[in-house]
Structure formats: C-alpha cells, structure tokens
C-alpha cells in the first residue's frame, strides 16, 4: 500500500469529517454516535495499516466503551449541549 492509496486517504478524510461533525452537532446522543463512527473508521484504518492489535483495541475502547460511557453520561446529564 503506497502513501496515496485511495482507501487510506478516503478513510482518513472520512475520519476528519466525522470528527468535525461530532464536535459540531447539537444533540449529545448524535455526537456520541458520530464519535463511535469515528472510532470505527479509525480502527478500520489501523487494520488497513497492519496494526491489528491497535485496531482491535480501538474498536473495543473507542467504538464501544467510550461511546457507552458518553451515552450513559448523556442520560445522567441531559441530552442537549446547553
């Protein structure tokens, strides 16, 4: 895989876009979901680069655990960013 590999670039671009969106949306649950998507994209990219352990962990942690924690916090603190 060369530097300019389309899948790699595409994934990276998608990561930047989802990250920006996660920070921009109004609703907290949407933001958490977008952050989950961001984490999965990242994990996919890691896998693409051969970092399977990191990809696995990122999927477990970023995609699942962090998102769950954000969502459960959202239930405790209210959904909207006030």
């Amino acid at each position: 895989m060369a530097e300019g590999h389309l899948i790699s670039i595409g994934l990276l671009a998608a990561m930047v876009v989802t990250a920006a969106c996660a920070l921009a949306v109004k609703d907290l649950l949407t933001a958490a979901a977008l952050f989950g998507a961001f984490s999965f994209l990242t994990a996919t990219w890691f896998a693409l680069l051969g970092a399977v352990d990191v990809a696995f962990t990122e999927a477990c942690v970023g995609g699942a655990l962090t998102t769950i924690l954000f969502v459960s916090t959202a239930f405790r603190t209210g959904r909207s960013f006030d």
Partner: protein, 114 residues
C-alpha cells in the same frame, strides 16, 4: 506525508475544540479526537511498505523488513488505555459538576462559580 498531515489536522481540530467549545462534554469529545490523532500519527510511523501484520506465521526466521514495526503499536495500546481512563474519570467529574451546578456550559458554570 499526506497521512501525517491528516494526523496534524485531527490534532488541531481536537485541541481547538478543547479550547473553544463552550460545553464541557463537547470539550471532552474534542479531547478524545486529539488523543486519537496522536495514535494515528504513531501507527503511521509503524508502517513499512511491503510488510505484514506483526504476528509470526509458520515460516522460518523472521526478517525485520517483512513485518510492521510492533513498537509503536504497543505504545499506542497503552495510549488508548490512557485515553479511555482519562475519559472515564472526566465523565465522572462531569456527572458531579452537573449535579452540583446544573449546567455543563462553561460560561454559565463560571457565572455560577462567581
């Protein structure tokens, strides 16, 4: 280089979000983005053209050029753990802040702290 630049972009977005967004939860999300950016950077350092996953197959003696560099991967496992731990603790703090001051908006919080 392009890959590195994406890491730099994510890092900048994250840091800017931490500094500029008014809501504490959102700051926290931005913080996570920033941490992921560092991980992306390290993992891209580990990449070698023509190499494979750093797990030994059945073949003979391994040659360095054939496998991805495992060291940054290891470091980033640790970094991910650090990131989730920080996030967990921060969320705990936010739950407490919210219950005490009934807002997570930085500006309102500062008004209430006065």
């Amino acid at each position: 280089m392009t890959t590195y630049a994406f890491a730099a972009a994510l890092f900048t977005i994250g840091l800017a979000g931490m500094a500029l967004l008014p809501n504490l939860l959102r700051k926290l999300l931005a913080m996570n983005v920033m941490q992921v950016a560092v991980i992306v950077f390290f993992v891209s350092l580990a990449f070698k053209d023509g190499a494979t996953v750093p797990i030994l197959g059945q073949g003979g003696a391994p040659v360095a050029a054939e496998f991805m560099n495992p060291l940054p991967h290891t470091l980033m496992l640790t970094a991910i753990v650090v990131s989730v731990s920080t996030t967990g603790l921060a969320l705990g703090l936010l739950v407490r802040v919210r219950s005490r001051f009934e807002t997570l908006n930085e500006r309102r919080l500062l008004d209430r702290l006065r």
